[in-house]
């Protein structure tokens, strides 16, 4: 039987809170000491359509990296190429220093993939899903049983181990999918829209689990169109639009560079917001007119609100909030990020 690179499992006896699943995964030296993920001028085309249009990305070990953008920005196509299940159309791509065109199986053996839509095996039970998936990696029966028990604990699904998958809630299925993606102790975990379609509570549980993984040293690559998710999970991210990268940096950097510290949101009774928009000229740094409200970018939101009142502007409601990645995206593309 072919041996796969999952040997050296570091047995760390749990020091209090750490669950076994988040123990330091084997830090096997990568073939090259370079980045875990490297893309140069990476392209993906489907016939005439260009999904990814020459992107440069570099992700270092232990980083948590995000692809942010609306649906159709090319995030999922990028993720599929990185997952070595979609041939590169142009440019260069290296994962662990390996070329997916020639070393696909070797790359996939060291990856964990959590796809956008759950593709759990409905004909199997919860624990069988983990066992069988582990066997696809060439792991032995004993290895997958031990690992599955740890992962069920990690995913808070131990009491559902023998149940069928179908009746599980959306959040549970998602956690099981993430547990499944960890069965081979991956060095790099790819998460495509990990919390899309989940209720707020389930999202927070999931974020907590992902945060623990990140702390244990697993490199995360996440796609999302949720700003709060990117801010919660990503050390660094790129904003994608129409297959290109339009900005790169940490969430804080991007906000500092493309937005202001605070934002004043004004809603009006009237459909026509042109008059108040005109009256606000010169207040704050910048003004965005959205169909349903005005966004006034200012370093001091309360001061901007006072200035607006002084000019006789009487909004239906006014809200001063901190700037988010949503504002960055709006500034970069002129569109809001809506589903």
């Amino acid at each position: 039987m072919r041996s796969l690179p999952f040997g050296t499992v570091v047995r760390v006896t749990a020091n209090g809170s750490a669950t076994p699943a988040e123990r330091p995964t084997r830090r096997r030296p990568a073939p090259t000491s370079g980045p875990i993920l490297l893309a140069r001028g990476l392209r993906k085309t489907f016939g005439e359509f260009t999904a990814v249009d020459g992107i440069d990305v570099e992700v270092q070990a232990g980083e948590s990296f995000g692809f942010l953008g609306p649906n159709g920005a090319g995030k999922s196509s990028t993720m599929r190429m990185v997952g070595a299940v979609s041939p590169v159309s142009g440019g260069e791509l290296r994962i662990f220093g390996l070329d997916p065109a020639s070393d696909g199986p070797a790359i996939r053996a060291r990856l964990g993939v959590c796809p956008q839509t759950d593709n759990l095996d409905d004909e199997l039970t919860v624990e069988e899903n983990l066992w069988i998936y582990g066997r696809y990696f060439g792991l032995s029966r004993a290895q997958v049983r031990e690992r599955a028990a740890e992962l069920l604990e990690f995913a808070q699904l131990t009491d559902r181990a023998g149940d069928k998958v179908e009746p599980l809630s959306g959040g549970m299925k998602r956690r099981l999918t993430i547990a499944r993606s960890l069965i081979n102790n991956p060095e790099l975990l790819l998460l495509d829209e990990p919390t899309t379609g989940l209720d707020p509570q389930a999202r927070h549980v999931l974020w907590d689990r992902l945060f623990r993984l990140k702390r244990s040293g697993v490199t995360l690559v996440i796609t999302t169109h949720y700003m709060d998710e990117a801010e919660q999970l990503c050390d660094r991210l790129v904003v994608m639009d129409h297959g290109r990268i339009v900005a790169e940096g940490s969430p804080r950097d991007l906000i500092a560079r493309y937005s202001t510290r605070e934002v004043l949101e004004l809603r009006f009774d009237a459909d026509d917001q042109a008059a108040p928009a005109a009256a606000l000229a010169g207040v704050g740094e910048r003004l965005e007119v959205l169909p349903d409200r005005l966004l006034l970018y200012a370093h001091d939101g309360d001061a901007a609100l006072s200035a607006a009142s002084a000019r006789g502007i009487r909004p239906l409601s006014a809200l001063v909030r901190r700037s988010t990645l949503e504002d960055v995206f709006l500034h970069l593309t002129g569109r809001t990020l809506v589903d």
Binding site: P105, Y133, Y136
Partner: protein, 274 residues
């Protein structure tokens, strides 16, 4: 301690038109075995059909037909004539059912192969694993049927021992072609074509009457169908009419099976690894 999948091997498989695999097809079979532990009742139905045919036609109609002269010249009872054909048909049924309906569901709805291909498994592992499972299922039906035929006193030749491996071989050819065909289907409506192919073959592949009964031109048409070769092979073995001519049937089924496996793997690759 690690030995990542040999680059040398992947270089060779890329040079040939064989889709990539990690040599882990048995894990796909294991998945199906695990799944069927929950629904083993589904295995039973495929066994009964040919057995019911054997008793209704072989024994029932057989009472009206004194004897049959086979295409190779032996004179046998009608039940003994029909039994080998039903053995071939049971192998076909088991294999085709699994490699069409079940594969279609996994491919288009459950997206199971997408999940498999995200692991070291390649399209070749998926195709070989699924076909191996389907032929195993066909083999189980055939084995049980053969047992019934033996108990019913319809089997006399020692060559019959080869009837089971031959049935597995028939199942292989049908499973492979079935899976290949399934990769072209996009809707459940397309399964009408499966029925359209299987039903006439079941009835007219020299199953229930000798080839010599057909007019000349139709005989050639019958000779083209895969089930005819399966039936002829089983009949030769179970009635002890063994000769080099049987190798023709083996060759036909082998070619069909290989085309099916390669075709299925390439289609899976084209559909899912875009």
């Amino acid at each position: 301690m690690s030995a990542p999948p040999l680059p040398a091997v992947s270089r060779v498989t890329r040079a040939l038109p064989i889709p990539a695999g990690a040599g882990l097809a048995r894990m796909v079979v294991l998945r199906n075995v695990t799944s069927f532990r929950h629904g083993w009742i589904a295995l039973i139905s495929g066994f009964f059909e040919p057995v019911l045919y054997l008793f209704s036609l072989g024994v029932g109609v057989g009472a009206l037909v004194p004897s049959v002269t086979t295409d190779r010249g032996s004179v046998v009872t009608y039940a003994a004539f029909v039994a080998p054909a039903l053995l071939a048909a049971s192998a076909m049924n088991g294999a085709v059912f699994d490699s069409t309906f079940n594969v279609f569901f996994k491919l288009r709805y459950a997206k199971l192969y997408d999940g498999m291909l995200a692991t070291p498994l390649g399209p070749r592992d998926v195709a070989v694993g699924e076909i191996a499972w389907s032929l195993g299922r066909g083999g189980i039906y055939s084995g049980l049927f053969l047992l019934v035929a033996v108990l019913a006193g319809l089997v006399h030749s020692w060559w019959s021992l080869l009837g089971l491996p031959a049935a597995v071989f028939i199942a292989f050819a049908f499973a492979a072609v079935g899976m290949f065909a399934t990769t072209f289907m996009t809707s459940w409506v397309h399964f009408e074509y499966v029925t359209l192919a299987i039903q006439p073959m079941f009835l007219f592949s020299a199953t229930f009457f000798p080839l010599s009964t057909y007019p000349g031109l139709l005989q050639w048409l019958v000779r083209l169908t895969p089930l005819y070769h399966g039936v002829a092979l089983e009949r030769g073995l179970l009635l002890g009419e063994v000769g080099a001519g049987l190798l023709w049937h083996v060759g036909y089924l082998l070619a069909l099976g290989l085309v099916g496996v390669l075709g299925a793997a390439r289609r899976i690759e084209g559909l899912l690894l875009r």
